[in-house]
């Protein structure tokens, strides 16, 4: 299949989905499932009303603090876990614990610990993305071709330099993948957490859920989806900009 074939099929899929939704929406009625023809207008209205974007930007800002922390700590830690057995043995159990624990289950404890403000959201986002970022880096580090490490050793490269000049760049594709996974989970967790405490974008969604029409609710979800997909693509783009060899490496395995 060529690129244009794939694009054609993609578009066909979306059109079919929208048609089904439209039919379903007409049958179910607006207070169960608003049809796309209604949502479009509602969406434009919300866009100009300002609430949606203001809450979204506010929430995303706090989310990026938590996510940034998860990357800043998780990436180097995953890399060290993958290369040094002692570090792995020491921290692997609790990293695994963080991954399997659902953020929803932690939310009540975090509310007690941090209240419902900035720290709470940062903490939730951190725990929900940290594990993915760390473990992806960890698996990348374990899988580094030992031959490439031998090259470094052959030139008498010291351990710090090897870490900086060989291990980190070799890990780069994994770091980007981990960040993409982490970001998806961070976004979900943030919205979920906000629904608990009725603040920010999640709060907005929760409150709109009580409305008679589902059109605004669906609009908020669509925006959230755009943000997730956009951020994910953005990270992929950054990966390619920073590392022109990134694509070749990923397709080569």
């Amino acid at each position: 299949m060529t690129k244009s074939h794939i694009l054609f099929l993609n578009v066909t899929g979306i059109v079919m989905f929208l048609l089904l939704w439209e039919v379903g929406g007409r049958i179910a009625g607006e207070n169960l499932l608003a049809a796309p023809s209604i949502v479009v207008f509602e969406y434009i209205r919300l866009l100009f009303a300002g609430d949606m974007l203001r809450e979204l930007v506010g929430s995303l800002r706090q989310m990026f603090v938590g996510f940034g922390l998860a990357c800043a700590i998780g990436m180097p830690m995953g890399a060290l876990m993958g290369r040094i057995r002692l570090v792995d043995a020491l921290v692997h159990p609790w990293v695994s614990m963080v991954v399997v624990t659902s953020a929803a289950a932690l939310a009540p404890i975090f509310i007690l610990m941090f209240g419902t403000g900035f720290e709470f959201r940062v903490a939730i986002v951190f725990v929900s993305s940290f594990g993915y970022v760390t473990l992806t880096a960890y698996h990348g580090a374990r899988g580094i071709d030992p031959k490439i490490i031998d090259v470094a050793r052959s030139y008498s490269t010291g351990p710090v330099e090897t870490y900086r000049k060989v291990i980190l760049p070799a890990l780069f594709p994994y770091l980007i993948t981990g960040a993409r996974l982490g970001l998806v989970h961070a976004t979900r967790a943030m919205v979920m957490a906000e629904m608990f405490v009725l603040v920010g974008y999640g709060g907005l969604i929760f409150q709109t859920g009580q409305d008679l029409s589902t059109a605004p609710l669906i609009s908020y979800l669509v925006t959230l989806m755009f943000v997730s997909v956009g951020a994910n693509m953005g990270l992929g783009w950054i990966g390619r900009q920073l590392a022109p060899w990134y694509d070749s490496k990923m397709s080569a395995g």
Binding site: K147, Y155, S156, P169, S248
Partner: protein
Amino acid sequence: MATKLSLNNLHKSFGRGKANPIEVVQDFSLDIRDLEFLAVIGPSGCGKSTLLRLIDGLIPADSGSILMDGRDISNKVGGEGRGMVFQSFDLFPWRTTQANVEFGLETNGVPKSERTGIAKHYIDLVGLTGFEHSYPHELSGGMQQRAGFARALAIKPEILLMDEPFGALDVQTRDILQNELLDIWQKEKKTVLFVTHSIEEAIYLADRIAVITPRPARVDRIIDVPFERPRTEDIKSRPEFLEMRQEIWSILKEGIKV
């Protein structure tokens, strides 16, 4: 002629869990003369790469010693006048040709201003002019090995350790690179330890050939190659060449039977 590198009674075995350890290199002794081109030939899996890794210090020997110009370098990892060209090129995919060639210079603390010029010199020498800013995935196999060669040359090693550098290349590219290697060797004046499993390659390139036994690797015989230099392709069809090929072939075959 003076001895450049002397390998004395090297032993190496690898543990295999509960099974008996596997003896890969056993009582291996060999003197490599200053500025000679020595080929080491042996069947696949006989321990040639292991031998080079021992010499480069990438793995420690169980016993035995390695002397470079008489000084003991047995426990030194990399460096010490050794430059390795790897079997599967093993360039850093995130570095351009230029940056790959500069790698060893960086590690040795050569300042940026000097690195650029040195790397450029060796990139030109191996015929990669114009590909300084290409990444390895943009280069053919032959070009990648040229880059690997330039990377090893850039640190000005006294002895080049080459592990079947052309093994992964097609025949034509291999022939071209063999001739270029000889050219560069004459220009740069280096000792070369060249591992191969191709008999023709060994005869065409080397001053002496050490034929080694299948695992565990030991020197079976050392053969002097009488052909004059510079070598040209036509020696490959001379009767003496064919005779020598036959001789080495029968030594290798004998080793395999035992």
